[in-house]
Amino acid sequence: MIAVVVLLVAPLLAGGLSLVVRRSTLLHVINLISLGALVTAEFVITRTVLRDGPFTALGQLVYLDALSTFILFIIGAVGLACSFYMRSYMDEQVAQGVIAPTRLNLFFFLFHMFVLAMVVATVANSVGVQWVAIEATTLATTFLIAFWRRRESLEAGWKYLILCSVGISLALFGVVLLYYSSLQVLSDVSQGLNVTQLLPVADRLNPQVLKLAFIFILVGYGTKVGLVPMHSWLPDAYTEAPAPVVAMLAGVLEVVAVYAILRVRMIIDHAVPVDFTGGLLALLGFASFVTATFFILIQHNYKRLFAYSSIEHMGIAMIGFGVGGALGTFGGLFHLLNHGLAKSMAFFAAGNVHRRFHTVEIDHVQGVAIAQPWTAFGLMTSGLALSALPPFAAFASEFQIVAALASQGVPGVGFTGTEGMVTVALSDQFSRVALASVFLVSAVLSFGGLLYRMTGMVWGIPREGIVRGEIWTLGHLPIIFLAGALVGFGFFLPQPLQQLLEQAATILVIQ
């Protein structure tokens, strides 16, 4: 399968070349070509998967189904947008002397390794290989986060490295347990962690071991997603990292980590009642949603504002997956895409604002609309999209999730006697209404908090000494493009994408 090879070789080759090439233009060209190749390969794979169904490649190492192809689509879309944005962003940083030209090589090398690790984590058949790749994303990004080498960036990078490594070690224990359970069932254990091997026998795996495994894996990869209470590294890292890196962290890495959780859940749900995994996911989802909303309300740093908004939206998606069913799962997956696009756009705009205003304090930024009209458009659009207002696509996905929540409730809540963590003795209907209300109140509060800050930044008159007017660069292209996609997907999903989403949701829902 050539497309799969391209998927893996393009970032690898680009990373290797980035170390030896000296001219910055060439570095950008390599970057664009490599991500372009990635997207092209992704389209080919989408066609194959939609036509022939899931397939394995490279001797059982790679497994691609609608779910992983959908995740690849998000990686490709956000990655390509990033590489356009990097063209203007990095060049300006070099011109200003913030980055030494020689360090560009390192930046691009780590960026490509980051992309490669995410692709491997997505296409890997073995849950173990997936773990290795996700730990590799931590290692590739920690220096990208600390790239400015200021004290604060070093602190953020160190925190990220330690917290994520620890979290992910716990996930490895979960993977070991999963393997432990497969030993009792599979005769040939040399591939005992492969999804293709585990799925057919999943209902015979030991439920006790799987439950323990899921808790470890949820906590471990949940750290990487930034779910409350394992989120403390996230706002720091998002504030300190260069804008294109944050866009990738927020738009793609979180999604890949969610995917890793879903992949394992898909196996576990066959042996353990759906209530167990669903209840835990919804619990963490609500914790993240409500906590993040609170921090959005008191935030005075716009990058941290967007960081907490990331936690909030991942919480929303988790609630969708936790509630489950066709509607909740579809909404959750769709929300991952919408959030990825909107958040990368928000951080592109935030990066532009930071470069012009040289501050991250919301109170010190005024009149972006006058100083940088295009950026102001991006900031406002992403703000509206992240508040899930119509006509943006996030409205559709959030609406699906809250509809599923109101009609089905959270599994494990509302009746006693389940073995789940949550055994609240409330009538079923009451709990559904209560949870949906909590959801809607949090959504309204975060909407208010986010838009209040955005409008404060966009309108008004810029400070003395701030240059007015904005020159059109290649970096503005992704902002316009993403805005179009965010509105467009709200009205009309392209046929292949819709099919992909529907099939991915079907894979995740246990009949």
């Binding site: 773990w131 290795v132 730990e135 920690t142 160190w158 925190k159 490594s165 070690s169 359970s181 962690l193």
Partner: protein, 221 residues
Amino acid sequence: MQVLSSIGSQLVNVCSALLLLTCFAIVAQRRLSACVDLFALQSAFLVVTAALVAYLTGNQHIYIAAALTGVIKVIIIPRVLKKIIDRLNVKRELVMYINVQAGLLICGGLVMLAFFISQPIIPLGSLLTRDSLAIALAIVLIGLFTMIARQKAVTQLVGFLVMENGLFLGATAATHGMPLIVELGVFFDVLIAALIAGIYTNRLQDAFDSVDTSRLTALKE
């Protein structure tokens, strides 16, 4: 055959217990370089355990994993850590959030917790390595505790490596080794993580004149 496997099982258990014991020694140790030595000793016990399991079960690929552990965790990583310690000149007493006595008590509690959690799933394992899973979990938890309780960047790194040792013990003893490609990947990750953390400690030293992570407080709400 029965006798052999029973002796084998005893030996594996003894080795696992020694691993756990070195964990306690690390928690009780105040000198940084001694911590690193103890980590190297723990890794050596891990090599012996892995080799024993490989011999008793006849799984050849565990020998490879054992050899890699020997090279990476007994030789390379301790040497790198020693170099860092020399450069940083932080041999003096460790600063801890929690004193040694309380730390040891907490670790004892963690061991009980680990056995409690893994009680329901232990009977599923093969006879040979039955209790190793609980011990592995205990080591992971103690490693986690070390990372939380200590302030120095280097000790946090040692805590992380102890966690990894626990995981490797779990993977070898309870499951007779994960698929080789996974194990190789894990080794690669651990090695790179240790090197990256080493580079960080240098940079932290340059930027803050200290590797005391309690000074990393610029970023907060």
